[in-house]
């Protein structure tokens, strides 16, 4: 019983790691631009499918495919930004519908090119199991990308707190007008946040391809999950996102272990709604209210 629980906690922790890399990108773009990019999950999925194409067609190791995927995802991300910046009226609502539309285009584009089949890496190393302390099992891919993801997020965290550009993103998040008065170029900073989000999305996409399975409708699921995590965290809090992601990962994996796999999504959704009830500004969001 204890072993089972420990294993569930461990698996949840690993899953939380990759949820966090997806969610941090979403939160970053939201912070800089006040826009929820509903196509974010599809960007992650695009990276996964580029890794799949590279591996299945040219035999390239998924990790080596990251640079190729990054170029594609960053270009797609730049297009999303270019379209978003053309919206003039009712930006909040129109940007939602626009990115929703982009998400539909990407999902169906992926469906048309790669069909609805489920894919995963064929490289056996990623799927080999790793045993920790004789009791905890994980796949090589899960552990490798968990550590890589943490390192990447630590890098982003450092960048946000210590580099001029990163601070500019945070400045835009907290007060757009004041930041512009202090000489922050909003367009440049917004583009930068989109590029960092693309980097995180690429990494997360390849992680999912090697450690889990990918299929066209996954993008939408990832967007919703990332959004739930950002709400749990409270918008604009990076360490909150990490904690929120691990919470979701652990709750899902406990649900799968003790209840049923089909209830996995339900657990996260219920947690999300409970948090909305009790503390609409998220668990770590301080006084920045989501509500009116």
């Amino acid at each position: 019983m204890i072993e089972l629980t420990l294993q569930a906690l461990f698996s949840g922790l690993l899953a939380g790691g990759y949820y966090a890399t997806v969610a941090v990108g979403l939160a970053l773009v939201f912070g800089a631009m006040r826009v929820i990019n509903l196509a974010h999950g599809e960007l992650v999925l695009l990276a996964a499918y580029i890794a799949y194409a590279a591996e299945s067609r040219y035999g390239i190791n998924p990790v080596m495919a990251i640079p190729i995927a990054l170029v594609v995802v960053a270009s797609a991300s730049a297009i999303v930004y270019a379209l978003l910046s053309r919206i003039e009226h009712d930006r909040e609502i129109n940007s939602l519908i626009l990115t929703f539309g982009i998400g539909i285009i990407m999902t169906n584009g992926i469906l048309t090119i790669w069909a609805a089949d489920i894919h995963s890496t064929t490289n056996p190393w990623f799927q080999d199991s790793l045993v920790i302390a004789d009791t905890l099992f994980a796949m090589n891919a899960e552990v490798a990308f968990f550590i890589g993801g943490l390192a990447l997020m630590a890098g982003v965290y450092w960048w946000l707190n210590h580099s001029w550009q990163g601070r500019a993103v945070r400045a835009l998040t907290s007060n757009r007008n004041a930041a512009m008065l202090m000489g922050v170029n909003p367009r440049q900073t917004e583009i930068l946040s989109f590029m960092i989000a693309a980097l995180l999305a690429t990494f997360a996409g390849v992680a999912i391809y090697t450690g889990k399975t990918v299929f066209p409708s996954l993008g939408h699921v990832l967007t919703v999950k990332a959004f739930i995590i950002t709400v749990l965290a409270g918008m604009g809090s990076i360490h909150g996102v990490l904690i929120g992601a691990i919470m979701i990962g652990v709750i899902e994996s406990l649900t799968v272990t003790y209840l049923s796999a089909s209830l996995q999504e339900l657990a996260g959704m219920l947690l999300f709604l409970v948090v909305l009830f009790v503390s609409p500004s998220g668990l770590f969001g301080g006084r920045r209210a989501l509500a009116r």
């Binding site: 609502i93 998400g103 609805a116 919703v224 999504e265 709604l273 509500a291 009116r292």
Partner: protein, 323 residues
Amino acid sequence: MKHAMKHAILGAALLAAYVGVPLLFGGTPYVMGLIVAALTIAGVALAWALLGNLGGMVSFGHAAFFGVGSYTSAVLSMKLGVPVFAALLLGGLGAAVASVAMLPALRLRGPYFALAILAYAHIFQILATEMTPITGGAGGLLSIPRFPTLFGLEFGGKTGGYVIILTIILLSAFAYDAVRRSAWGLALKAMHDTEIATRVIGVPSTHLKAAMLALSAFITGVVGAFNAHFISFLEPDYAFSSTWTVLPIAAAIFGGYRTVWGPVVGALVIYLLDQLVFKPILPHGHQMVLGVLLCAMILLSPGGLLPVLLRRRRSEGGRHAHA
């Protein structure tokens, strides 16, 4: 004079819709089926636009109301023997009751509300899959009772279904218009401009939004219930499919979600284009075209096509008057 002409046009349109269309297409079940399906989307699009236009809320979860409405009506008529037409209304009521569960989300701002309601849609879908004794689980419900024959009119067929969904849409549009013209409509319009000021002068904005959510859910639920009895089959993945959210949004944005008839016209155009043109070309990814359409509309003409067309006609009319 102007009123008389308006009434004459309205009468002609009603006659064409109730008599002309069945006479023209009644003999070809395929075309009739397409029109009924397009009108089903139109009903949801109308309800979605009502929430967006009057309540100022974008929903990505209307599939939840559609699914709850269809299951409520199907289960009531199958397990409790409730007459189909009564079950239809109870289906709408069920969806309205389900919207009560979403009330806490009303205090959220735009994007948060939109996504919270998406989360609700997922929850309802999972519940429908898991509550096997009532809903039949993932296997679904087979041979749901069809519409009966009343007053010598057979409602079970394609043409009968057409008359029912047409009536649902007309009544919904009528209700929508009545709300818009009422004191509530004025308060809601003021709320759209500045919510805080409206609250200060004593308008219960949350109550009004809740009422709009319930009305929108009711209409969507009735349309969902109609669809269940019309096709006589339900499964969770179908009843709660994101299609019931995506197509109506595309239709409403395309036609113009700030008008009553824009979403209906948009649904007819979009659904028929999708089925007759895009689906044969792109059998699997044909929804991509909807995405392109949605993006193009938001970027080029966020108000939708119907208002643009009407404005053009009006300005042309104005020019004639000056000449």
